[in-house]
Symmetry: C2
Subunit: 129 residues, 2 copies
């Protein structure tokens, strides 16, 4: 492992965003972590930082018990990867998600993600995480 202090700070920024924004679904904390010029690649939402706040407010109502369990996270230069398990309620099979974030000037500036249903059963006895 050869992380620079800047890489450690970028990884910490993203994990703090999970703790203070995603897990509590707190739109009021978005501006501390997300750039005003945020580039959103998720295909299901409208672009931009304000749209992210509206999305958080919506899912907080729809799924107040939602959990985002981080399984592993990595940093390379200004990019951070996070692999996590989203469950909307206790016992939900939920989704496996991998996010990639680009950090610039101490804020999350760009975001790509891929998500997939977790299945019960199937040909592989080894779990998705």
């Amino acid at each position: 492992m050869s992380r620079t202090p800047e890489e450690e700070a970028s990884l910490r920024l993203v994990l703090d965003m999970f703790e203070h924004v995603l897990n509590p679904m707190d739109s009021g904390a978005v501006d501390r972590f997300i750039s005003p010029d945020y580039i959103q690649h998720n295909q299901s939402v409208t672009p931009g930082r304000e749209s992210l706040k509206a999305f958080l407010d919506m899912i907080k109502v729809q799924s107040p018990e939602a959990m985002h369990d981080v399984k592993r996270a990595f940093v390379d230069g200004d990019h951070v990867t996070v692999h996590y398990h989203v469950r909307r309620w206790p016992g939900d099979l939920g989704w496996a998600v991998i996010d990639i974030f680009r950090v610039a000037d101490g804020l999350i500036a760009e975001h790509w993600d891929v998500m997939q249903d977790v299945v019960d059963g199937g040909p592989n006895p080894i779990g998705p995480f």
Copy 2:
């Protein structure tokens, strides 16, 4: 960026695997890149290195024109992340995929992935890559 020579070698191993195994769907090249103790977390296939070879032989018949376009790749310690676009034929919308690989002793030892359909249209004019 602060990649060590070991990290550069792990990243190169994974990108070479895309070039020599995934893109040509060449099961004969698997043993040069994948550990005999390969831990497969993809939920849709049976576990292990031999199963990967059978999978490659199958998709080579089903989708001989399949392409895997790497969009970005990162390394942190012994883990490599690759974000890429799978298309089964020219013009296919295909899937967005993010893989995470763990490298050990110069071979790919473990693999997690998440994949999602690329959609046409939708609320976000910014593309998934």
